[in-house]
């Protein structure tokens, strides 16, 4: 896991890159309960994605993404970090 230091440019500072947060075990549990889902039902984020590398996400992590939205102002989404496309 690389982390943002090893990249030439800090993509997290870019305006179009959303604000990330890696969820704790407890938070994941609450998320799964709130939506009544299994972990696999969360949308995926490839571990090779520059964004995932920048925040140093590990396989199995769930990332909370807060971003600007045209319709809602601020929108929250979650991504499950995976190592393959399937």
């Amino acid at each position: 896991m690389l982390g943002v230091e090893t990249m030439g440019f800090n993509i997290l500072k870019h305006e179009l890159v959303p604000y990330p947060k890696i969820l704790s075990y407890k938070e994941i549990k609450k998320l799964l309960k709130d939506y009544d889902i299994q972990k696999e039902q969360i949308p995926k984020l490839l571990i090779t994605d520059p964004f995932a590398r920048a925040i140093g996400a590990k396989e199995g992590d769930v990332v909370k993404i807060i971003r600007k939205s045209i319709t809602a102002g601020i929108s929250v989404a979650y991504r499950l970090v995976v190592s393959s496309e399937r």
């Binding site: 039902q41 809602a72 102002g73």
Partner: protein, 879 residues
């Protein structure tokens, strides 16, 4: 029979492989040796193409392999096979064969790379599998590396260039490889590489490279290629059978010639012919060879053609099917019909039926219905009354009701039977116009049976269907179950779609003359005679009091709901620098208080489709029922009003006085002078460049600006002389049809023609047309049309105009086909998504796509132009 449990199962995987020759022989019911099908007596020949071992088509006959008859649970037919005299390349695999030949050694069959590198590849491969990654890129890398080697690292054989001469000929360093040689090579490869074949994405358990060269050909069962008997008693064979006959015939000749030791040349010719026939048997549109044709000259439909494209199995039989209980005919307008209705020709109504389940409550009714028979005579004063076509009894038998047996069938009607009643007024049906691009392309209507042969449609539903009446046809579907009817009523009725999910505004509303009519009725303080007032109000079945000398605004107010309070600028608003609001000199500020039109003219912005404020507000605040009523009434009132005032437009609407023409000419010659100045400045190098632009670009931009201004200026002059007494102007200003730009192009000047957003440059050397001097950069030489449509264009102007027009046509053609395909892919990807009760958007597998629908969770149809609440309005109402 034991019923199988119908629990849904998840498909874990799917595996594709290539049939091996031994596998083909093993699954074959019989070997086929003769190209003939039937003998003189009409019986299938054994070991011929119609051998009963391959299954039977006629019901009653028994299959010679399994002994069963055709049918759902019976025999589906069995494959046969033919032994090919010489091997033949399978067209479907030529690319794979080419890749293998390029990356392997012909002598030893090994991959053309060092053992160490191979080891690395294998490790990388396993890693990919472990991580479940796509192999496409990896295989490309392996192929790229190993086909760039000069000699084999294992046996030292020089690597020669392998080329594929499409469709099926391989050459090594220019020398032709026969399919036998290719097959030997591939055999060596699978022998040497074994399990390492996986580096080329081949699983040796399910496919060997040499199986891509055919030695045995499977013959599909008879039921895949049934022959049809014509009325004359003549048999007509399927295209596939024709093709197979060709294959077997050539195969036989090849065998005979080879066995008889015929010259090499003849054998090779026949071999190539066999290759051709087998190639076209798989795909008759293979590039590089002429398609095999029927005796009539029609190209044969072989295996690939059965599956491919719009008419193929997938798109025509699996993704879409033909349906019963549907009708299609030309549509035509009916200004008196409600938006929720559709007019149906009597002929169609008599053919289409609605199932009526007989219960204790309706049995008497049903009996009376059946007694009418299939062709009831309508009672006096009506043009149609529905009869009954069939009665479906409880035991499943369908009885056709005729004039003669109607009484009898009615008498013996039982509870639980189903009566197939003809369509009647008020049935709910689905109505659709292709292309079905959005959900409003298919809406539910109530039927209204009418004379003549077209579907009758309200003009207000033309925008959502994108329909006009230049010959458009539409489809009708009759709902067959109670659930479907209720669902359609609640979700699909036209009034449920007045507000568009695209922008939250009304998509159904007045068009063209409806808008002009309302405009003419409510403009300024138009007073109507008592007669006219009654005429207009009777068109909407008005029941209130009528006063003498009502103004148009008062008449219009009769259809406004009492709760309505609105203030907005009308379409006719001139967008003055500071809006005078109530004191607008053009009567373009609309004020509605408690359902009374106090001031302002009602036009496109009030009652039109896409922008009608009144419709939108009623739909939001008072419900869709009220909105649909309002649309029905306002359109009828508009038509009544325009009929009284009278309205027409013609070419003399674009007449302007001579002095105006002179002004226009002067303005144009000024523009020309300006352009000449610019060109001169450019030629003398005095033109100042715009930052970031070249000198040429600067000149072009400046000229485009001047030509644009010139056109606007002429438009302004022209429109000064075209007042509100002019029909064309009324239509443009009220938003009914046309624009002021259209008018200024007709009366003023057409303006600069552009191709690819630039002035016209292409044509002859250094000039666009031979009418101009070489190097002329002036206005006329580069596509400025200073004439107007009414006066007519000069020949050179006409040419430039056509260039611009052609670009427009090509653009729309390209755009529609491309956006259509994009739409198809999007719909296929998104069609199963659903908004769940918790607001998430999920797939059928319950995987979340969006955590909140549209990120804000708002249904755009229930929104105010996209926003959840109209805060301004709420505040206004509070005060």
């Amino acid at each position: 029979m034991i019923m199988e449990t119908n629990t849904p199962k998840k498909i874990a995987g799917m595996k594709f492989g290539i049939l091996s020759p031994s596998r083909i022989r093993k699954m074959s019911a019989t070997r086929i040796i003769t190209p003939d099908t039937y003998n003189e007596d009409g019986f299938p020949i054994t070991m011929g193409l119609m051998d009963p071992h391959l299954g039977v088509v006629e019901p009653g006959l028994r299959c010679k392999t399994c002994g069963q008859q055709v049918g759902k649970d019976g025999c589906n037919g069995h494959f046969g096979h033919i032994e090919l005299a010489m091997p033949v390349i399978h067209v479907g695999f030529v690319k794979t064969i080419r890749d293998i030949l390029r990356s392997t050694c012909r002598r030893c069959g090994n991959l053309l790379c060092e053992d160490s590198e191979k080891k690395d590849f294998l490790r990388e491969y396993d890693e990919h599998i472990e991580r479940d990654r796509s192999l496409t890129e990896f295989v490309k890398k392996v192929l790229g590396k190993s086909s760039n080697v000069k000699e084999c690292p294992h046996c030292g054989r020089q690597k020669l260039v392998v080329e594929l001469d499409k469709p099926t000929t391989f050459r090594e360093a220019g020398h032709k490889l026969t399919p036998s040689e290719v097959r030997e090579w591939l055999e060596k490869v699978s022998e040497t590489l074994g399990n390492d074949l996986r580096l080329l994405e081949i699983d040796p358990k399910s496919a060997h490279p040499e199986w891509m060269v055919l030695t045995v050909l499977p013959i599909p069962p008879v039921c895949t290629r049934p022959s049809i008997t014509l009325e004359s008693g003549e048999r007509s064979e399927d295209d596939l059978t024709h093709k197979l006959v060709d294959i077997i015939r050539i195969n036989q000749r090849l065998q005979e010639n080879r066995d008889a030791g015929a010259p090499q040349l003849i054998v090779e010719d026949l071999w190539e012919l066999l290759q051709y026939h087998i190639t076209t048997y798989f795909d008759n549109q293979t590039a590089g060879i002429p398609p095999a044709r029927h005796r009539s000259g029609r190209a044969l439909k072989t295996l690939a053609q059965r599956l491919k494209g719009k008419e193929g199995r997938f798109r025509s039989n699996l993704s879409g099917k033909r349906v019963n209980f549907s009708a299609r005919t030309v549509i035509s307008p009916d200004p008196n019909i409600s938006i929720n209705e559709v007019g149906i020709p009597i002929e169609i109504a008599k053919e289409l039926t609605v199932p009526l389940r007989v219960t204790a409550h309706n049995i008497e009714n049903a009996k009376e219905l059946i007694q009418r028979g299939p062709n009831p005579v309508p009672p006096k004063g009506r043009i149609y009354i529905s009869g009954v076509n069939y009665v479906k009894r409880k035991d499943g038998r369908r009885i056709r009701v005729t004039y003669n047996n109607a009484m009898d069938v009615a008498e013996r009607l039982e509870i639980g039977s189903i009566v197939e009643r003809q369509l009647d007024d008020g049935d709910i049906v689905l109505f659709n116009r292709q292309p079905s691009l959005h959900r409003m392309s298919m809406m539910a209507h109530r039927t209204k049976i009418m004379p003549y042969k077209t579907f009758r449609v309200s003009l207000s539903v033309c925008p959502p269907y994108n329909a006009d009446f230049d010959g458009d046809e539409m489809n009708l579907h009759i709902l067959q179950s109670e659930e479907a009817k209720v669902e359609a009523e609640i979700l699909m009725k036209v009034q449920e779609h007045i507000l568009s999910p695209r922008f939250g505004g009304a998509i159904i509303g007045g068009i063209h003359d409806h808008i002009t009519g309302c405009f003419l009725l409510t403009i300024k303080k138009r007073k109507l005679s008592l007669g006219d007032t009654i005429q207009i109000l009777s068109s909407i079945n008005y029941t209130g009091d009528i006063k003498k000398g009502m103004t148009g605004k008062e008449i219009f107010s009769t259809i406004l709901p009492k709760e309505l309070n609105l203030r907005y600028r009308a379409q006719a608003c001139m967008n003055c620098d500071t809006c005078l609001e109530e004191k607008c000199p053009y009567d373009s500020y609309v004020v509605i208080e408690n359902g009374e039109l106090k001031m302002g003219v009602t036009d496109g912005k009030s009652v039109g489709a896409f922008k009608g404020k009144i419709i939108e507000t009623i739909a939001h605040d008072l419900g869709l029922e009220a909105a649909s009523n309002f649309i029905d009434k306002v359109t009828k009132m508009g038509i009544a009003a325009i009929s009284i005032v009278g309205f027409t437009t013609s070419i003399d609407d674009e007449d302007i006085p001579e002095e105006a023409n002179m002004q226009i000419e002067e303005s144009l010659s000024n523009a020309k002078k300006k352009i000449d100045q610019l060109v001169r400045a450019y030629n003398n190098g005095e033109l100042e460049t715009i930052p970031g632009r070249s000198l040429e670009e600067t000149l072009e931009m400046e000229i485009m600006r001047v030509t644009g201004q010139a056109r606007d200026a002429t438009g302004e002059i022209a429109s000064k002389h075209l007042g509100m007494d002019n029909s064309a102007v009324i239509m443009a200003r009220s938003g009914a049809r046309g624009s002021m730009l259209n008018l200024s192009q007709m009366a003023g000047c057409v303006g600069q023609q552009a191709v690819r957003g630039e002035r016209i440059h292409r044509g002859y050397q250094h000039r666009t047309l031979p009418h101009f001097k070489k190097g002329d950069l002036g206005a006329a030489a580069k596509g400025f049309v200073s004439s107007n449509y009414k006066k007519g264009l000069k020949p050179s102007e006409y040419f430039f105009h056509s260039m611009g027009g052609r670009e427009g046509l090509v653009d729309t053609a390209v755009r529609t086909s491309r956006s259509g395909y994009m739409q198809r892919r999007l719909i296929n990807a998104l069609e199963n998504l659903k908004v769940e009760n918790d607001g998430t958007v999920r797939t059928t597998g319950n995987v979340i796509i969006q955590f909140r629908y549209g990120e804000d969770g708002i249904d755009p149809t229930r929104s105010v132009r996209g926003d959840a609440v109209d805060i301004d309005k709420v505040i206004k109402e509070m005060i």
